[in-house]
């Protein structure tokens, strides 16, 4: 009879331990599953800030940088343009395909792979120009789609000081 009493305490301890383990598991798992609006929001701001603060002259990119394909073709002429201004200039000159490829090149490696994004200029989508079905499906089904906006403008011809803009530049970001 005395031996049996010990089992109760052991069982009680095991039960208590189980409750503790489940409790800790629930708490830690709930931490992991919290959505990350702040992170996505920061990403959209970061991408737009990257576009507006980084200049062509700062790029080391064989397609978009100084001495790169676009530079040698004479498509990019002002190394002092920010990336956002260059995108705006392409839009103003109706070089939308080049704008798309430019965005793809300069943003490669900047965005974590689990996120999708779009770049719009003056309410026209520049990247991706023709979104895939998966892209649209992902955008429509996401629970958290965030956007950052900025104004941009620039000069097309330095001699005559012809201006393009001001345009609304917009970045949309969401998790796949």
């Amino acid at each position: 009879m005395l031996k049996k009493r010990g089992y109760f305490f052991v069982l009680d301890a095991v039960l208590a331990l189980t409750v503790l383990v489940i409790g800790v598991f629930l708490i830690t798992s709930s931490y992991v599953n919290v959505p990350q609006p702040a992170q996505v929001s920061l990403l959209s701001d970061d991408l737009l800030n990257f576009f507006s603060n980084r200049k062509i002259m700062d790029l080391n990119n064989p397609y978009a940088g100084i001495g790169g394909t676009l530079w040698n073709q004479g498509t990019i002429t002002d190394a002092d343009n920010s990336l956002l201004q260059q995108i705006g200039e392409f839009y103003a000159k109706n070089k939308l395909d080049i704008a798309e490829k430019f965005i793809q090149n300069v943003s490669a490696g900047v965005m974590p792979p689990q996120f999708r994004y779009e770049v719009w200029m003056n309410n026209a989508i520049l990247y991706p120009r023709t979104p895939s079905v998966e892209h649209l499906k992902s955008k429509n089904s996401t629970e958290l789609l965030l956007t950052s906006k900025k104004l941009t403008f620039g000069i097309i011809n330095k001699t005559t000081s012809n201006i393009w803009g001001p345009y609304k530049a917009e970045v949309f970001i969401w998790e796949r």
Partner: protein, 335 residues
């Protein structure tokens, strides 16, 4: 010894208590949806930062860019206006301000006089309207811009400077910015047509401003020949030449900072042979017409030197013969 009585039901209370405490602990510790005041603060901070960046862009980049663009177009329009009307501008600052702000001169749209679409949708007011609309659309910010003054002047011979005094307010739902700024910008005069030639030759002889590359102590007859061929301009310190802006109002007097001059090509005027110094600002005001003894033909018949082989009848006054370093073997007195 009596047997110990076991009350198995009591243990379950401890278990319930443990579960209850654990449940309370879980509820307290589980992170809630982030709708706290901290998140609101973060959102407001982001919003203020966005609008602040816009205000900074507006003050330090947009106004300067727009001022430069409209200054260029206004000067171009005024040259076409002089070309169309054949007369000079009475008050340069007033005309410049009116064209730049409204696209009109004397109350009439300047584009309708020049028949060129230069100022249409390109006045300062148009560009201000555009940024007001875009900032509303992009940042939901209400921008008010009041331009108090615009003016144009020169402090360097080859540049035009313009100035704009502006008050602006940017109001968003979280904050308001009120600012005053004086914006200045500079444009190059090279490439513009000289209005002085347009009026004096009734548009038959036009000359675009192009800076001579010859240094002041390197002039000789060969360089003067190139100077004439290319219609280039030169700046001499403390000369009596007018600045580029003074040529819009026919103010032919010495500019202390910015006087520039070119040489009139005798092959482009009629009659070619005139008793004048062919320096542009002296030629059409007939400064040397009655002072023939001070004029020199830039030729020397016995040696066949000088410039008359290409620019027959070209003459200069004594001062300019000296300034351009033309020697006696290339020049003879006119009278």
């Amino acid at each position: 010894m009596g047997a110990i009585k076991i009350r198995p039901k009591k243990g379950i209370f401890f278990t319930f208590i443990a579960i209850t405490i654990m449940a309370v602990f879980i509820l307290v510790s589980t992170p809630q949806a982030d709708t706290s005041l901290q998140k609101d603060t973060q959102a407001i901070r982001t919003r203020i930062s966005s609008v602040d960046t816009y205000v900074d862009d507006l003050e330090n980049r947009y106004f300067e860019t727009v001022l430069r663009a409209t200054t260029y177009k206004t000067i171009l329009s005024l040259i076409f206006y002089i070309n169309s009307t054949g007369s000079y501008i009475t008050d340069m600052d007033s005309a410049f301000s009116e064209v730049m702000l409204t696209g009109k001169i004397g109350g009439m749209p300047i584009d309708s006089i020049t028949r060129k679409k230069i100022m249409e949708n390109n006045t300062l007011a148009d560009w201000n309207d555009r940024i007001i609309k875009t900032s509303k659309d992009t940042l939901n910010a209400n921008t008010t811009i009041i331009i108090n003054k615009v003016s144009v002047f020169q402090t360097k011979p080859w540049d035009i400077e313009s100035l704009m005094e502006v008050n602006f307010t940017v109001k968003s739902n979280v904050a308001e910015w009120k600012k005053s700024a004086t914006i200045t910008t500079t444009i190059d005069i090279e490439g513009f047509h000289d209005p002085y030639y347009l009026v004096n030759t009734n548009k038959e002889y036009t000359n675009q401003v192009k800076k001579s590359t010859v240094e002041s102590n390197k002039w000789d007859t060969a360089k003067v020949r190139e100077h004439l061929r290319n219609g280039t301009y030169v700046y001499w310190e403390n000369s009596d030449a007018p600045s580029f802006l003074m040529r819009f109002t026919n103010t032919i007097a010495g500019s202390s900072c910015c006087g520039i001059e070119s040489l009139v090509n005798p092959n482009k005027i009629s009659p070619e042979d005139q008793r004048e110094s062919y320096v542009d600002y002296l030629f059409w005001v007939h400064t040397y017409n009655s002072r023939c003894s001070e004029l020199y033909n830039i030729t020397n018949p016995p040696t066949s030197l000088g410039l008359w082989d290409e620019f027959r009848y070209f003459k200069l006054d004594f001062n300019h013969v000296t300034m351009y370093n033309i020697t006696a073997q290339d020049a003879v007195k006119t009278c």
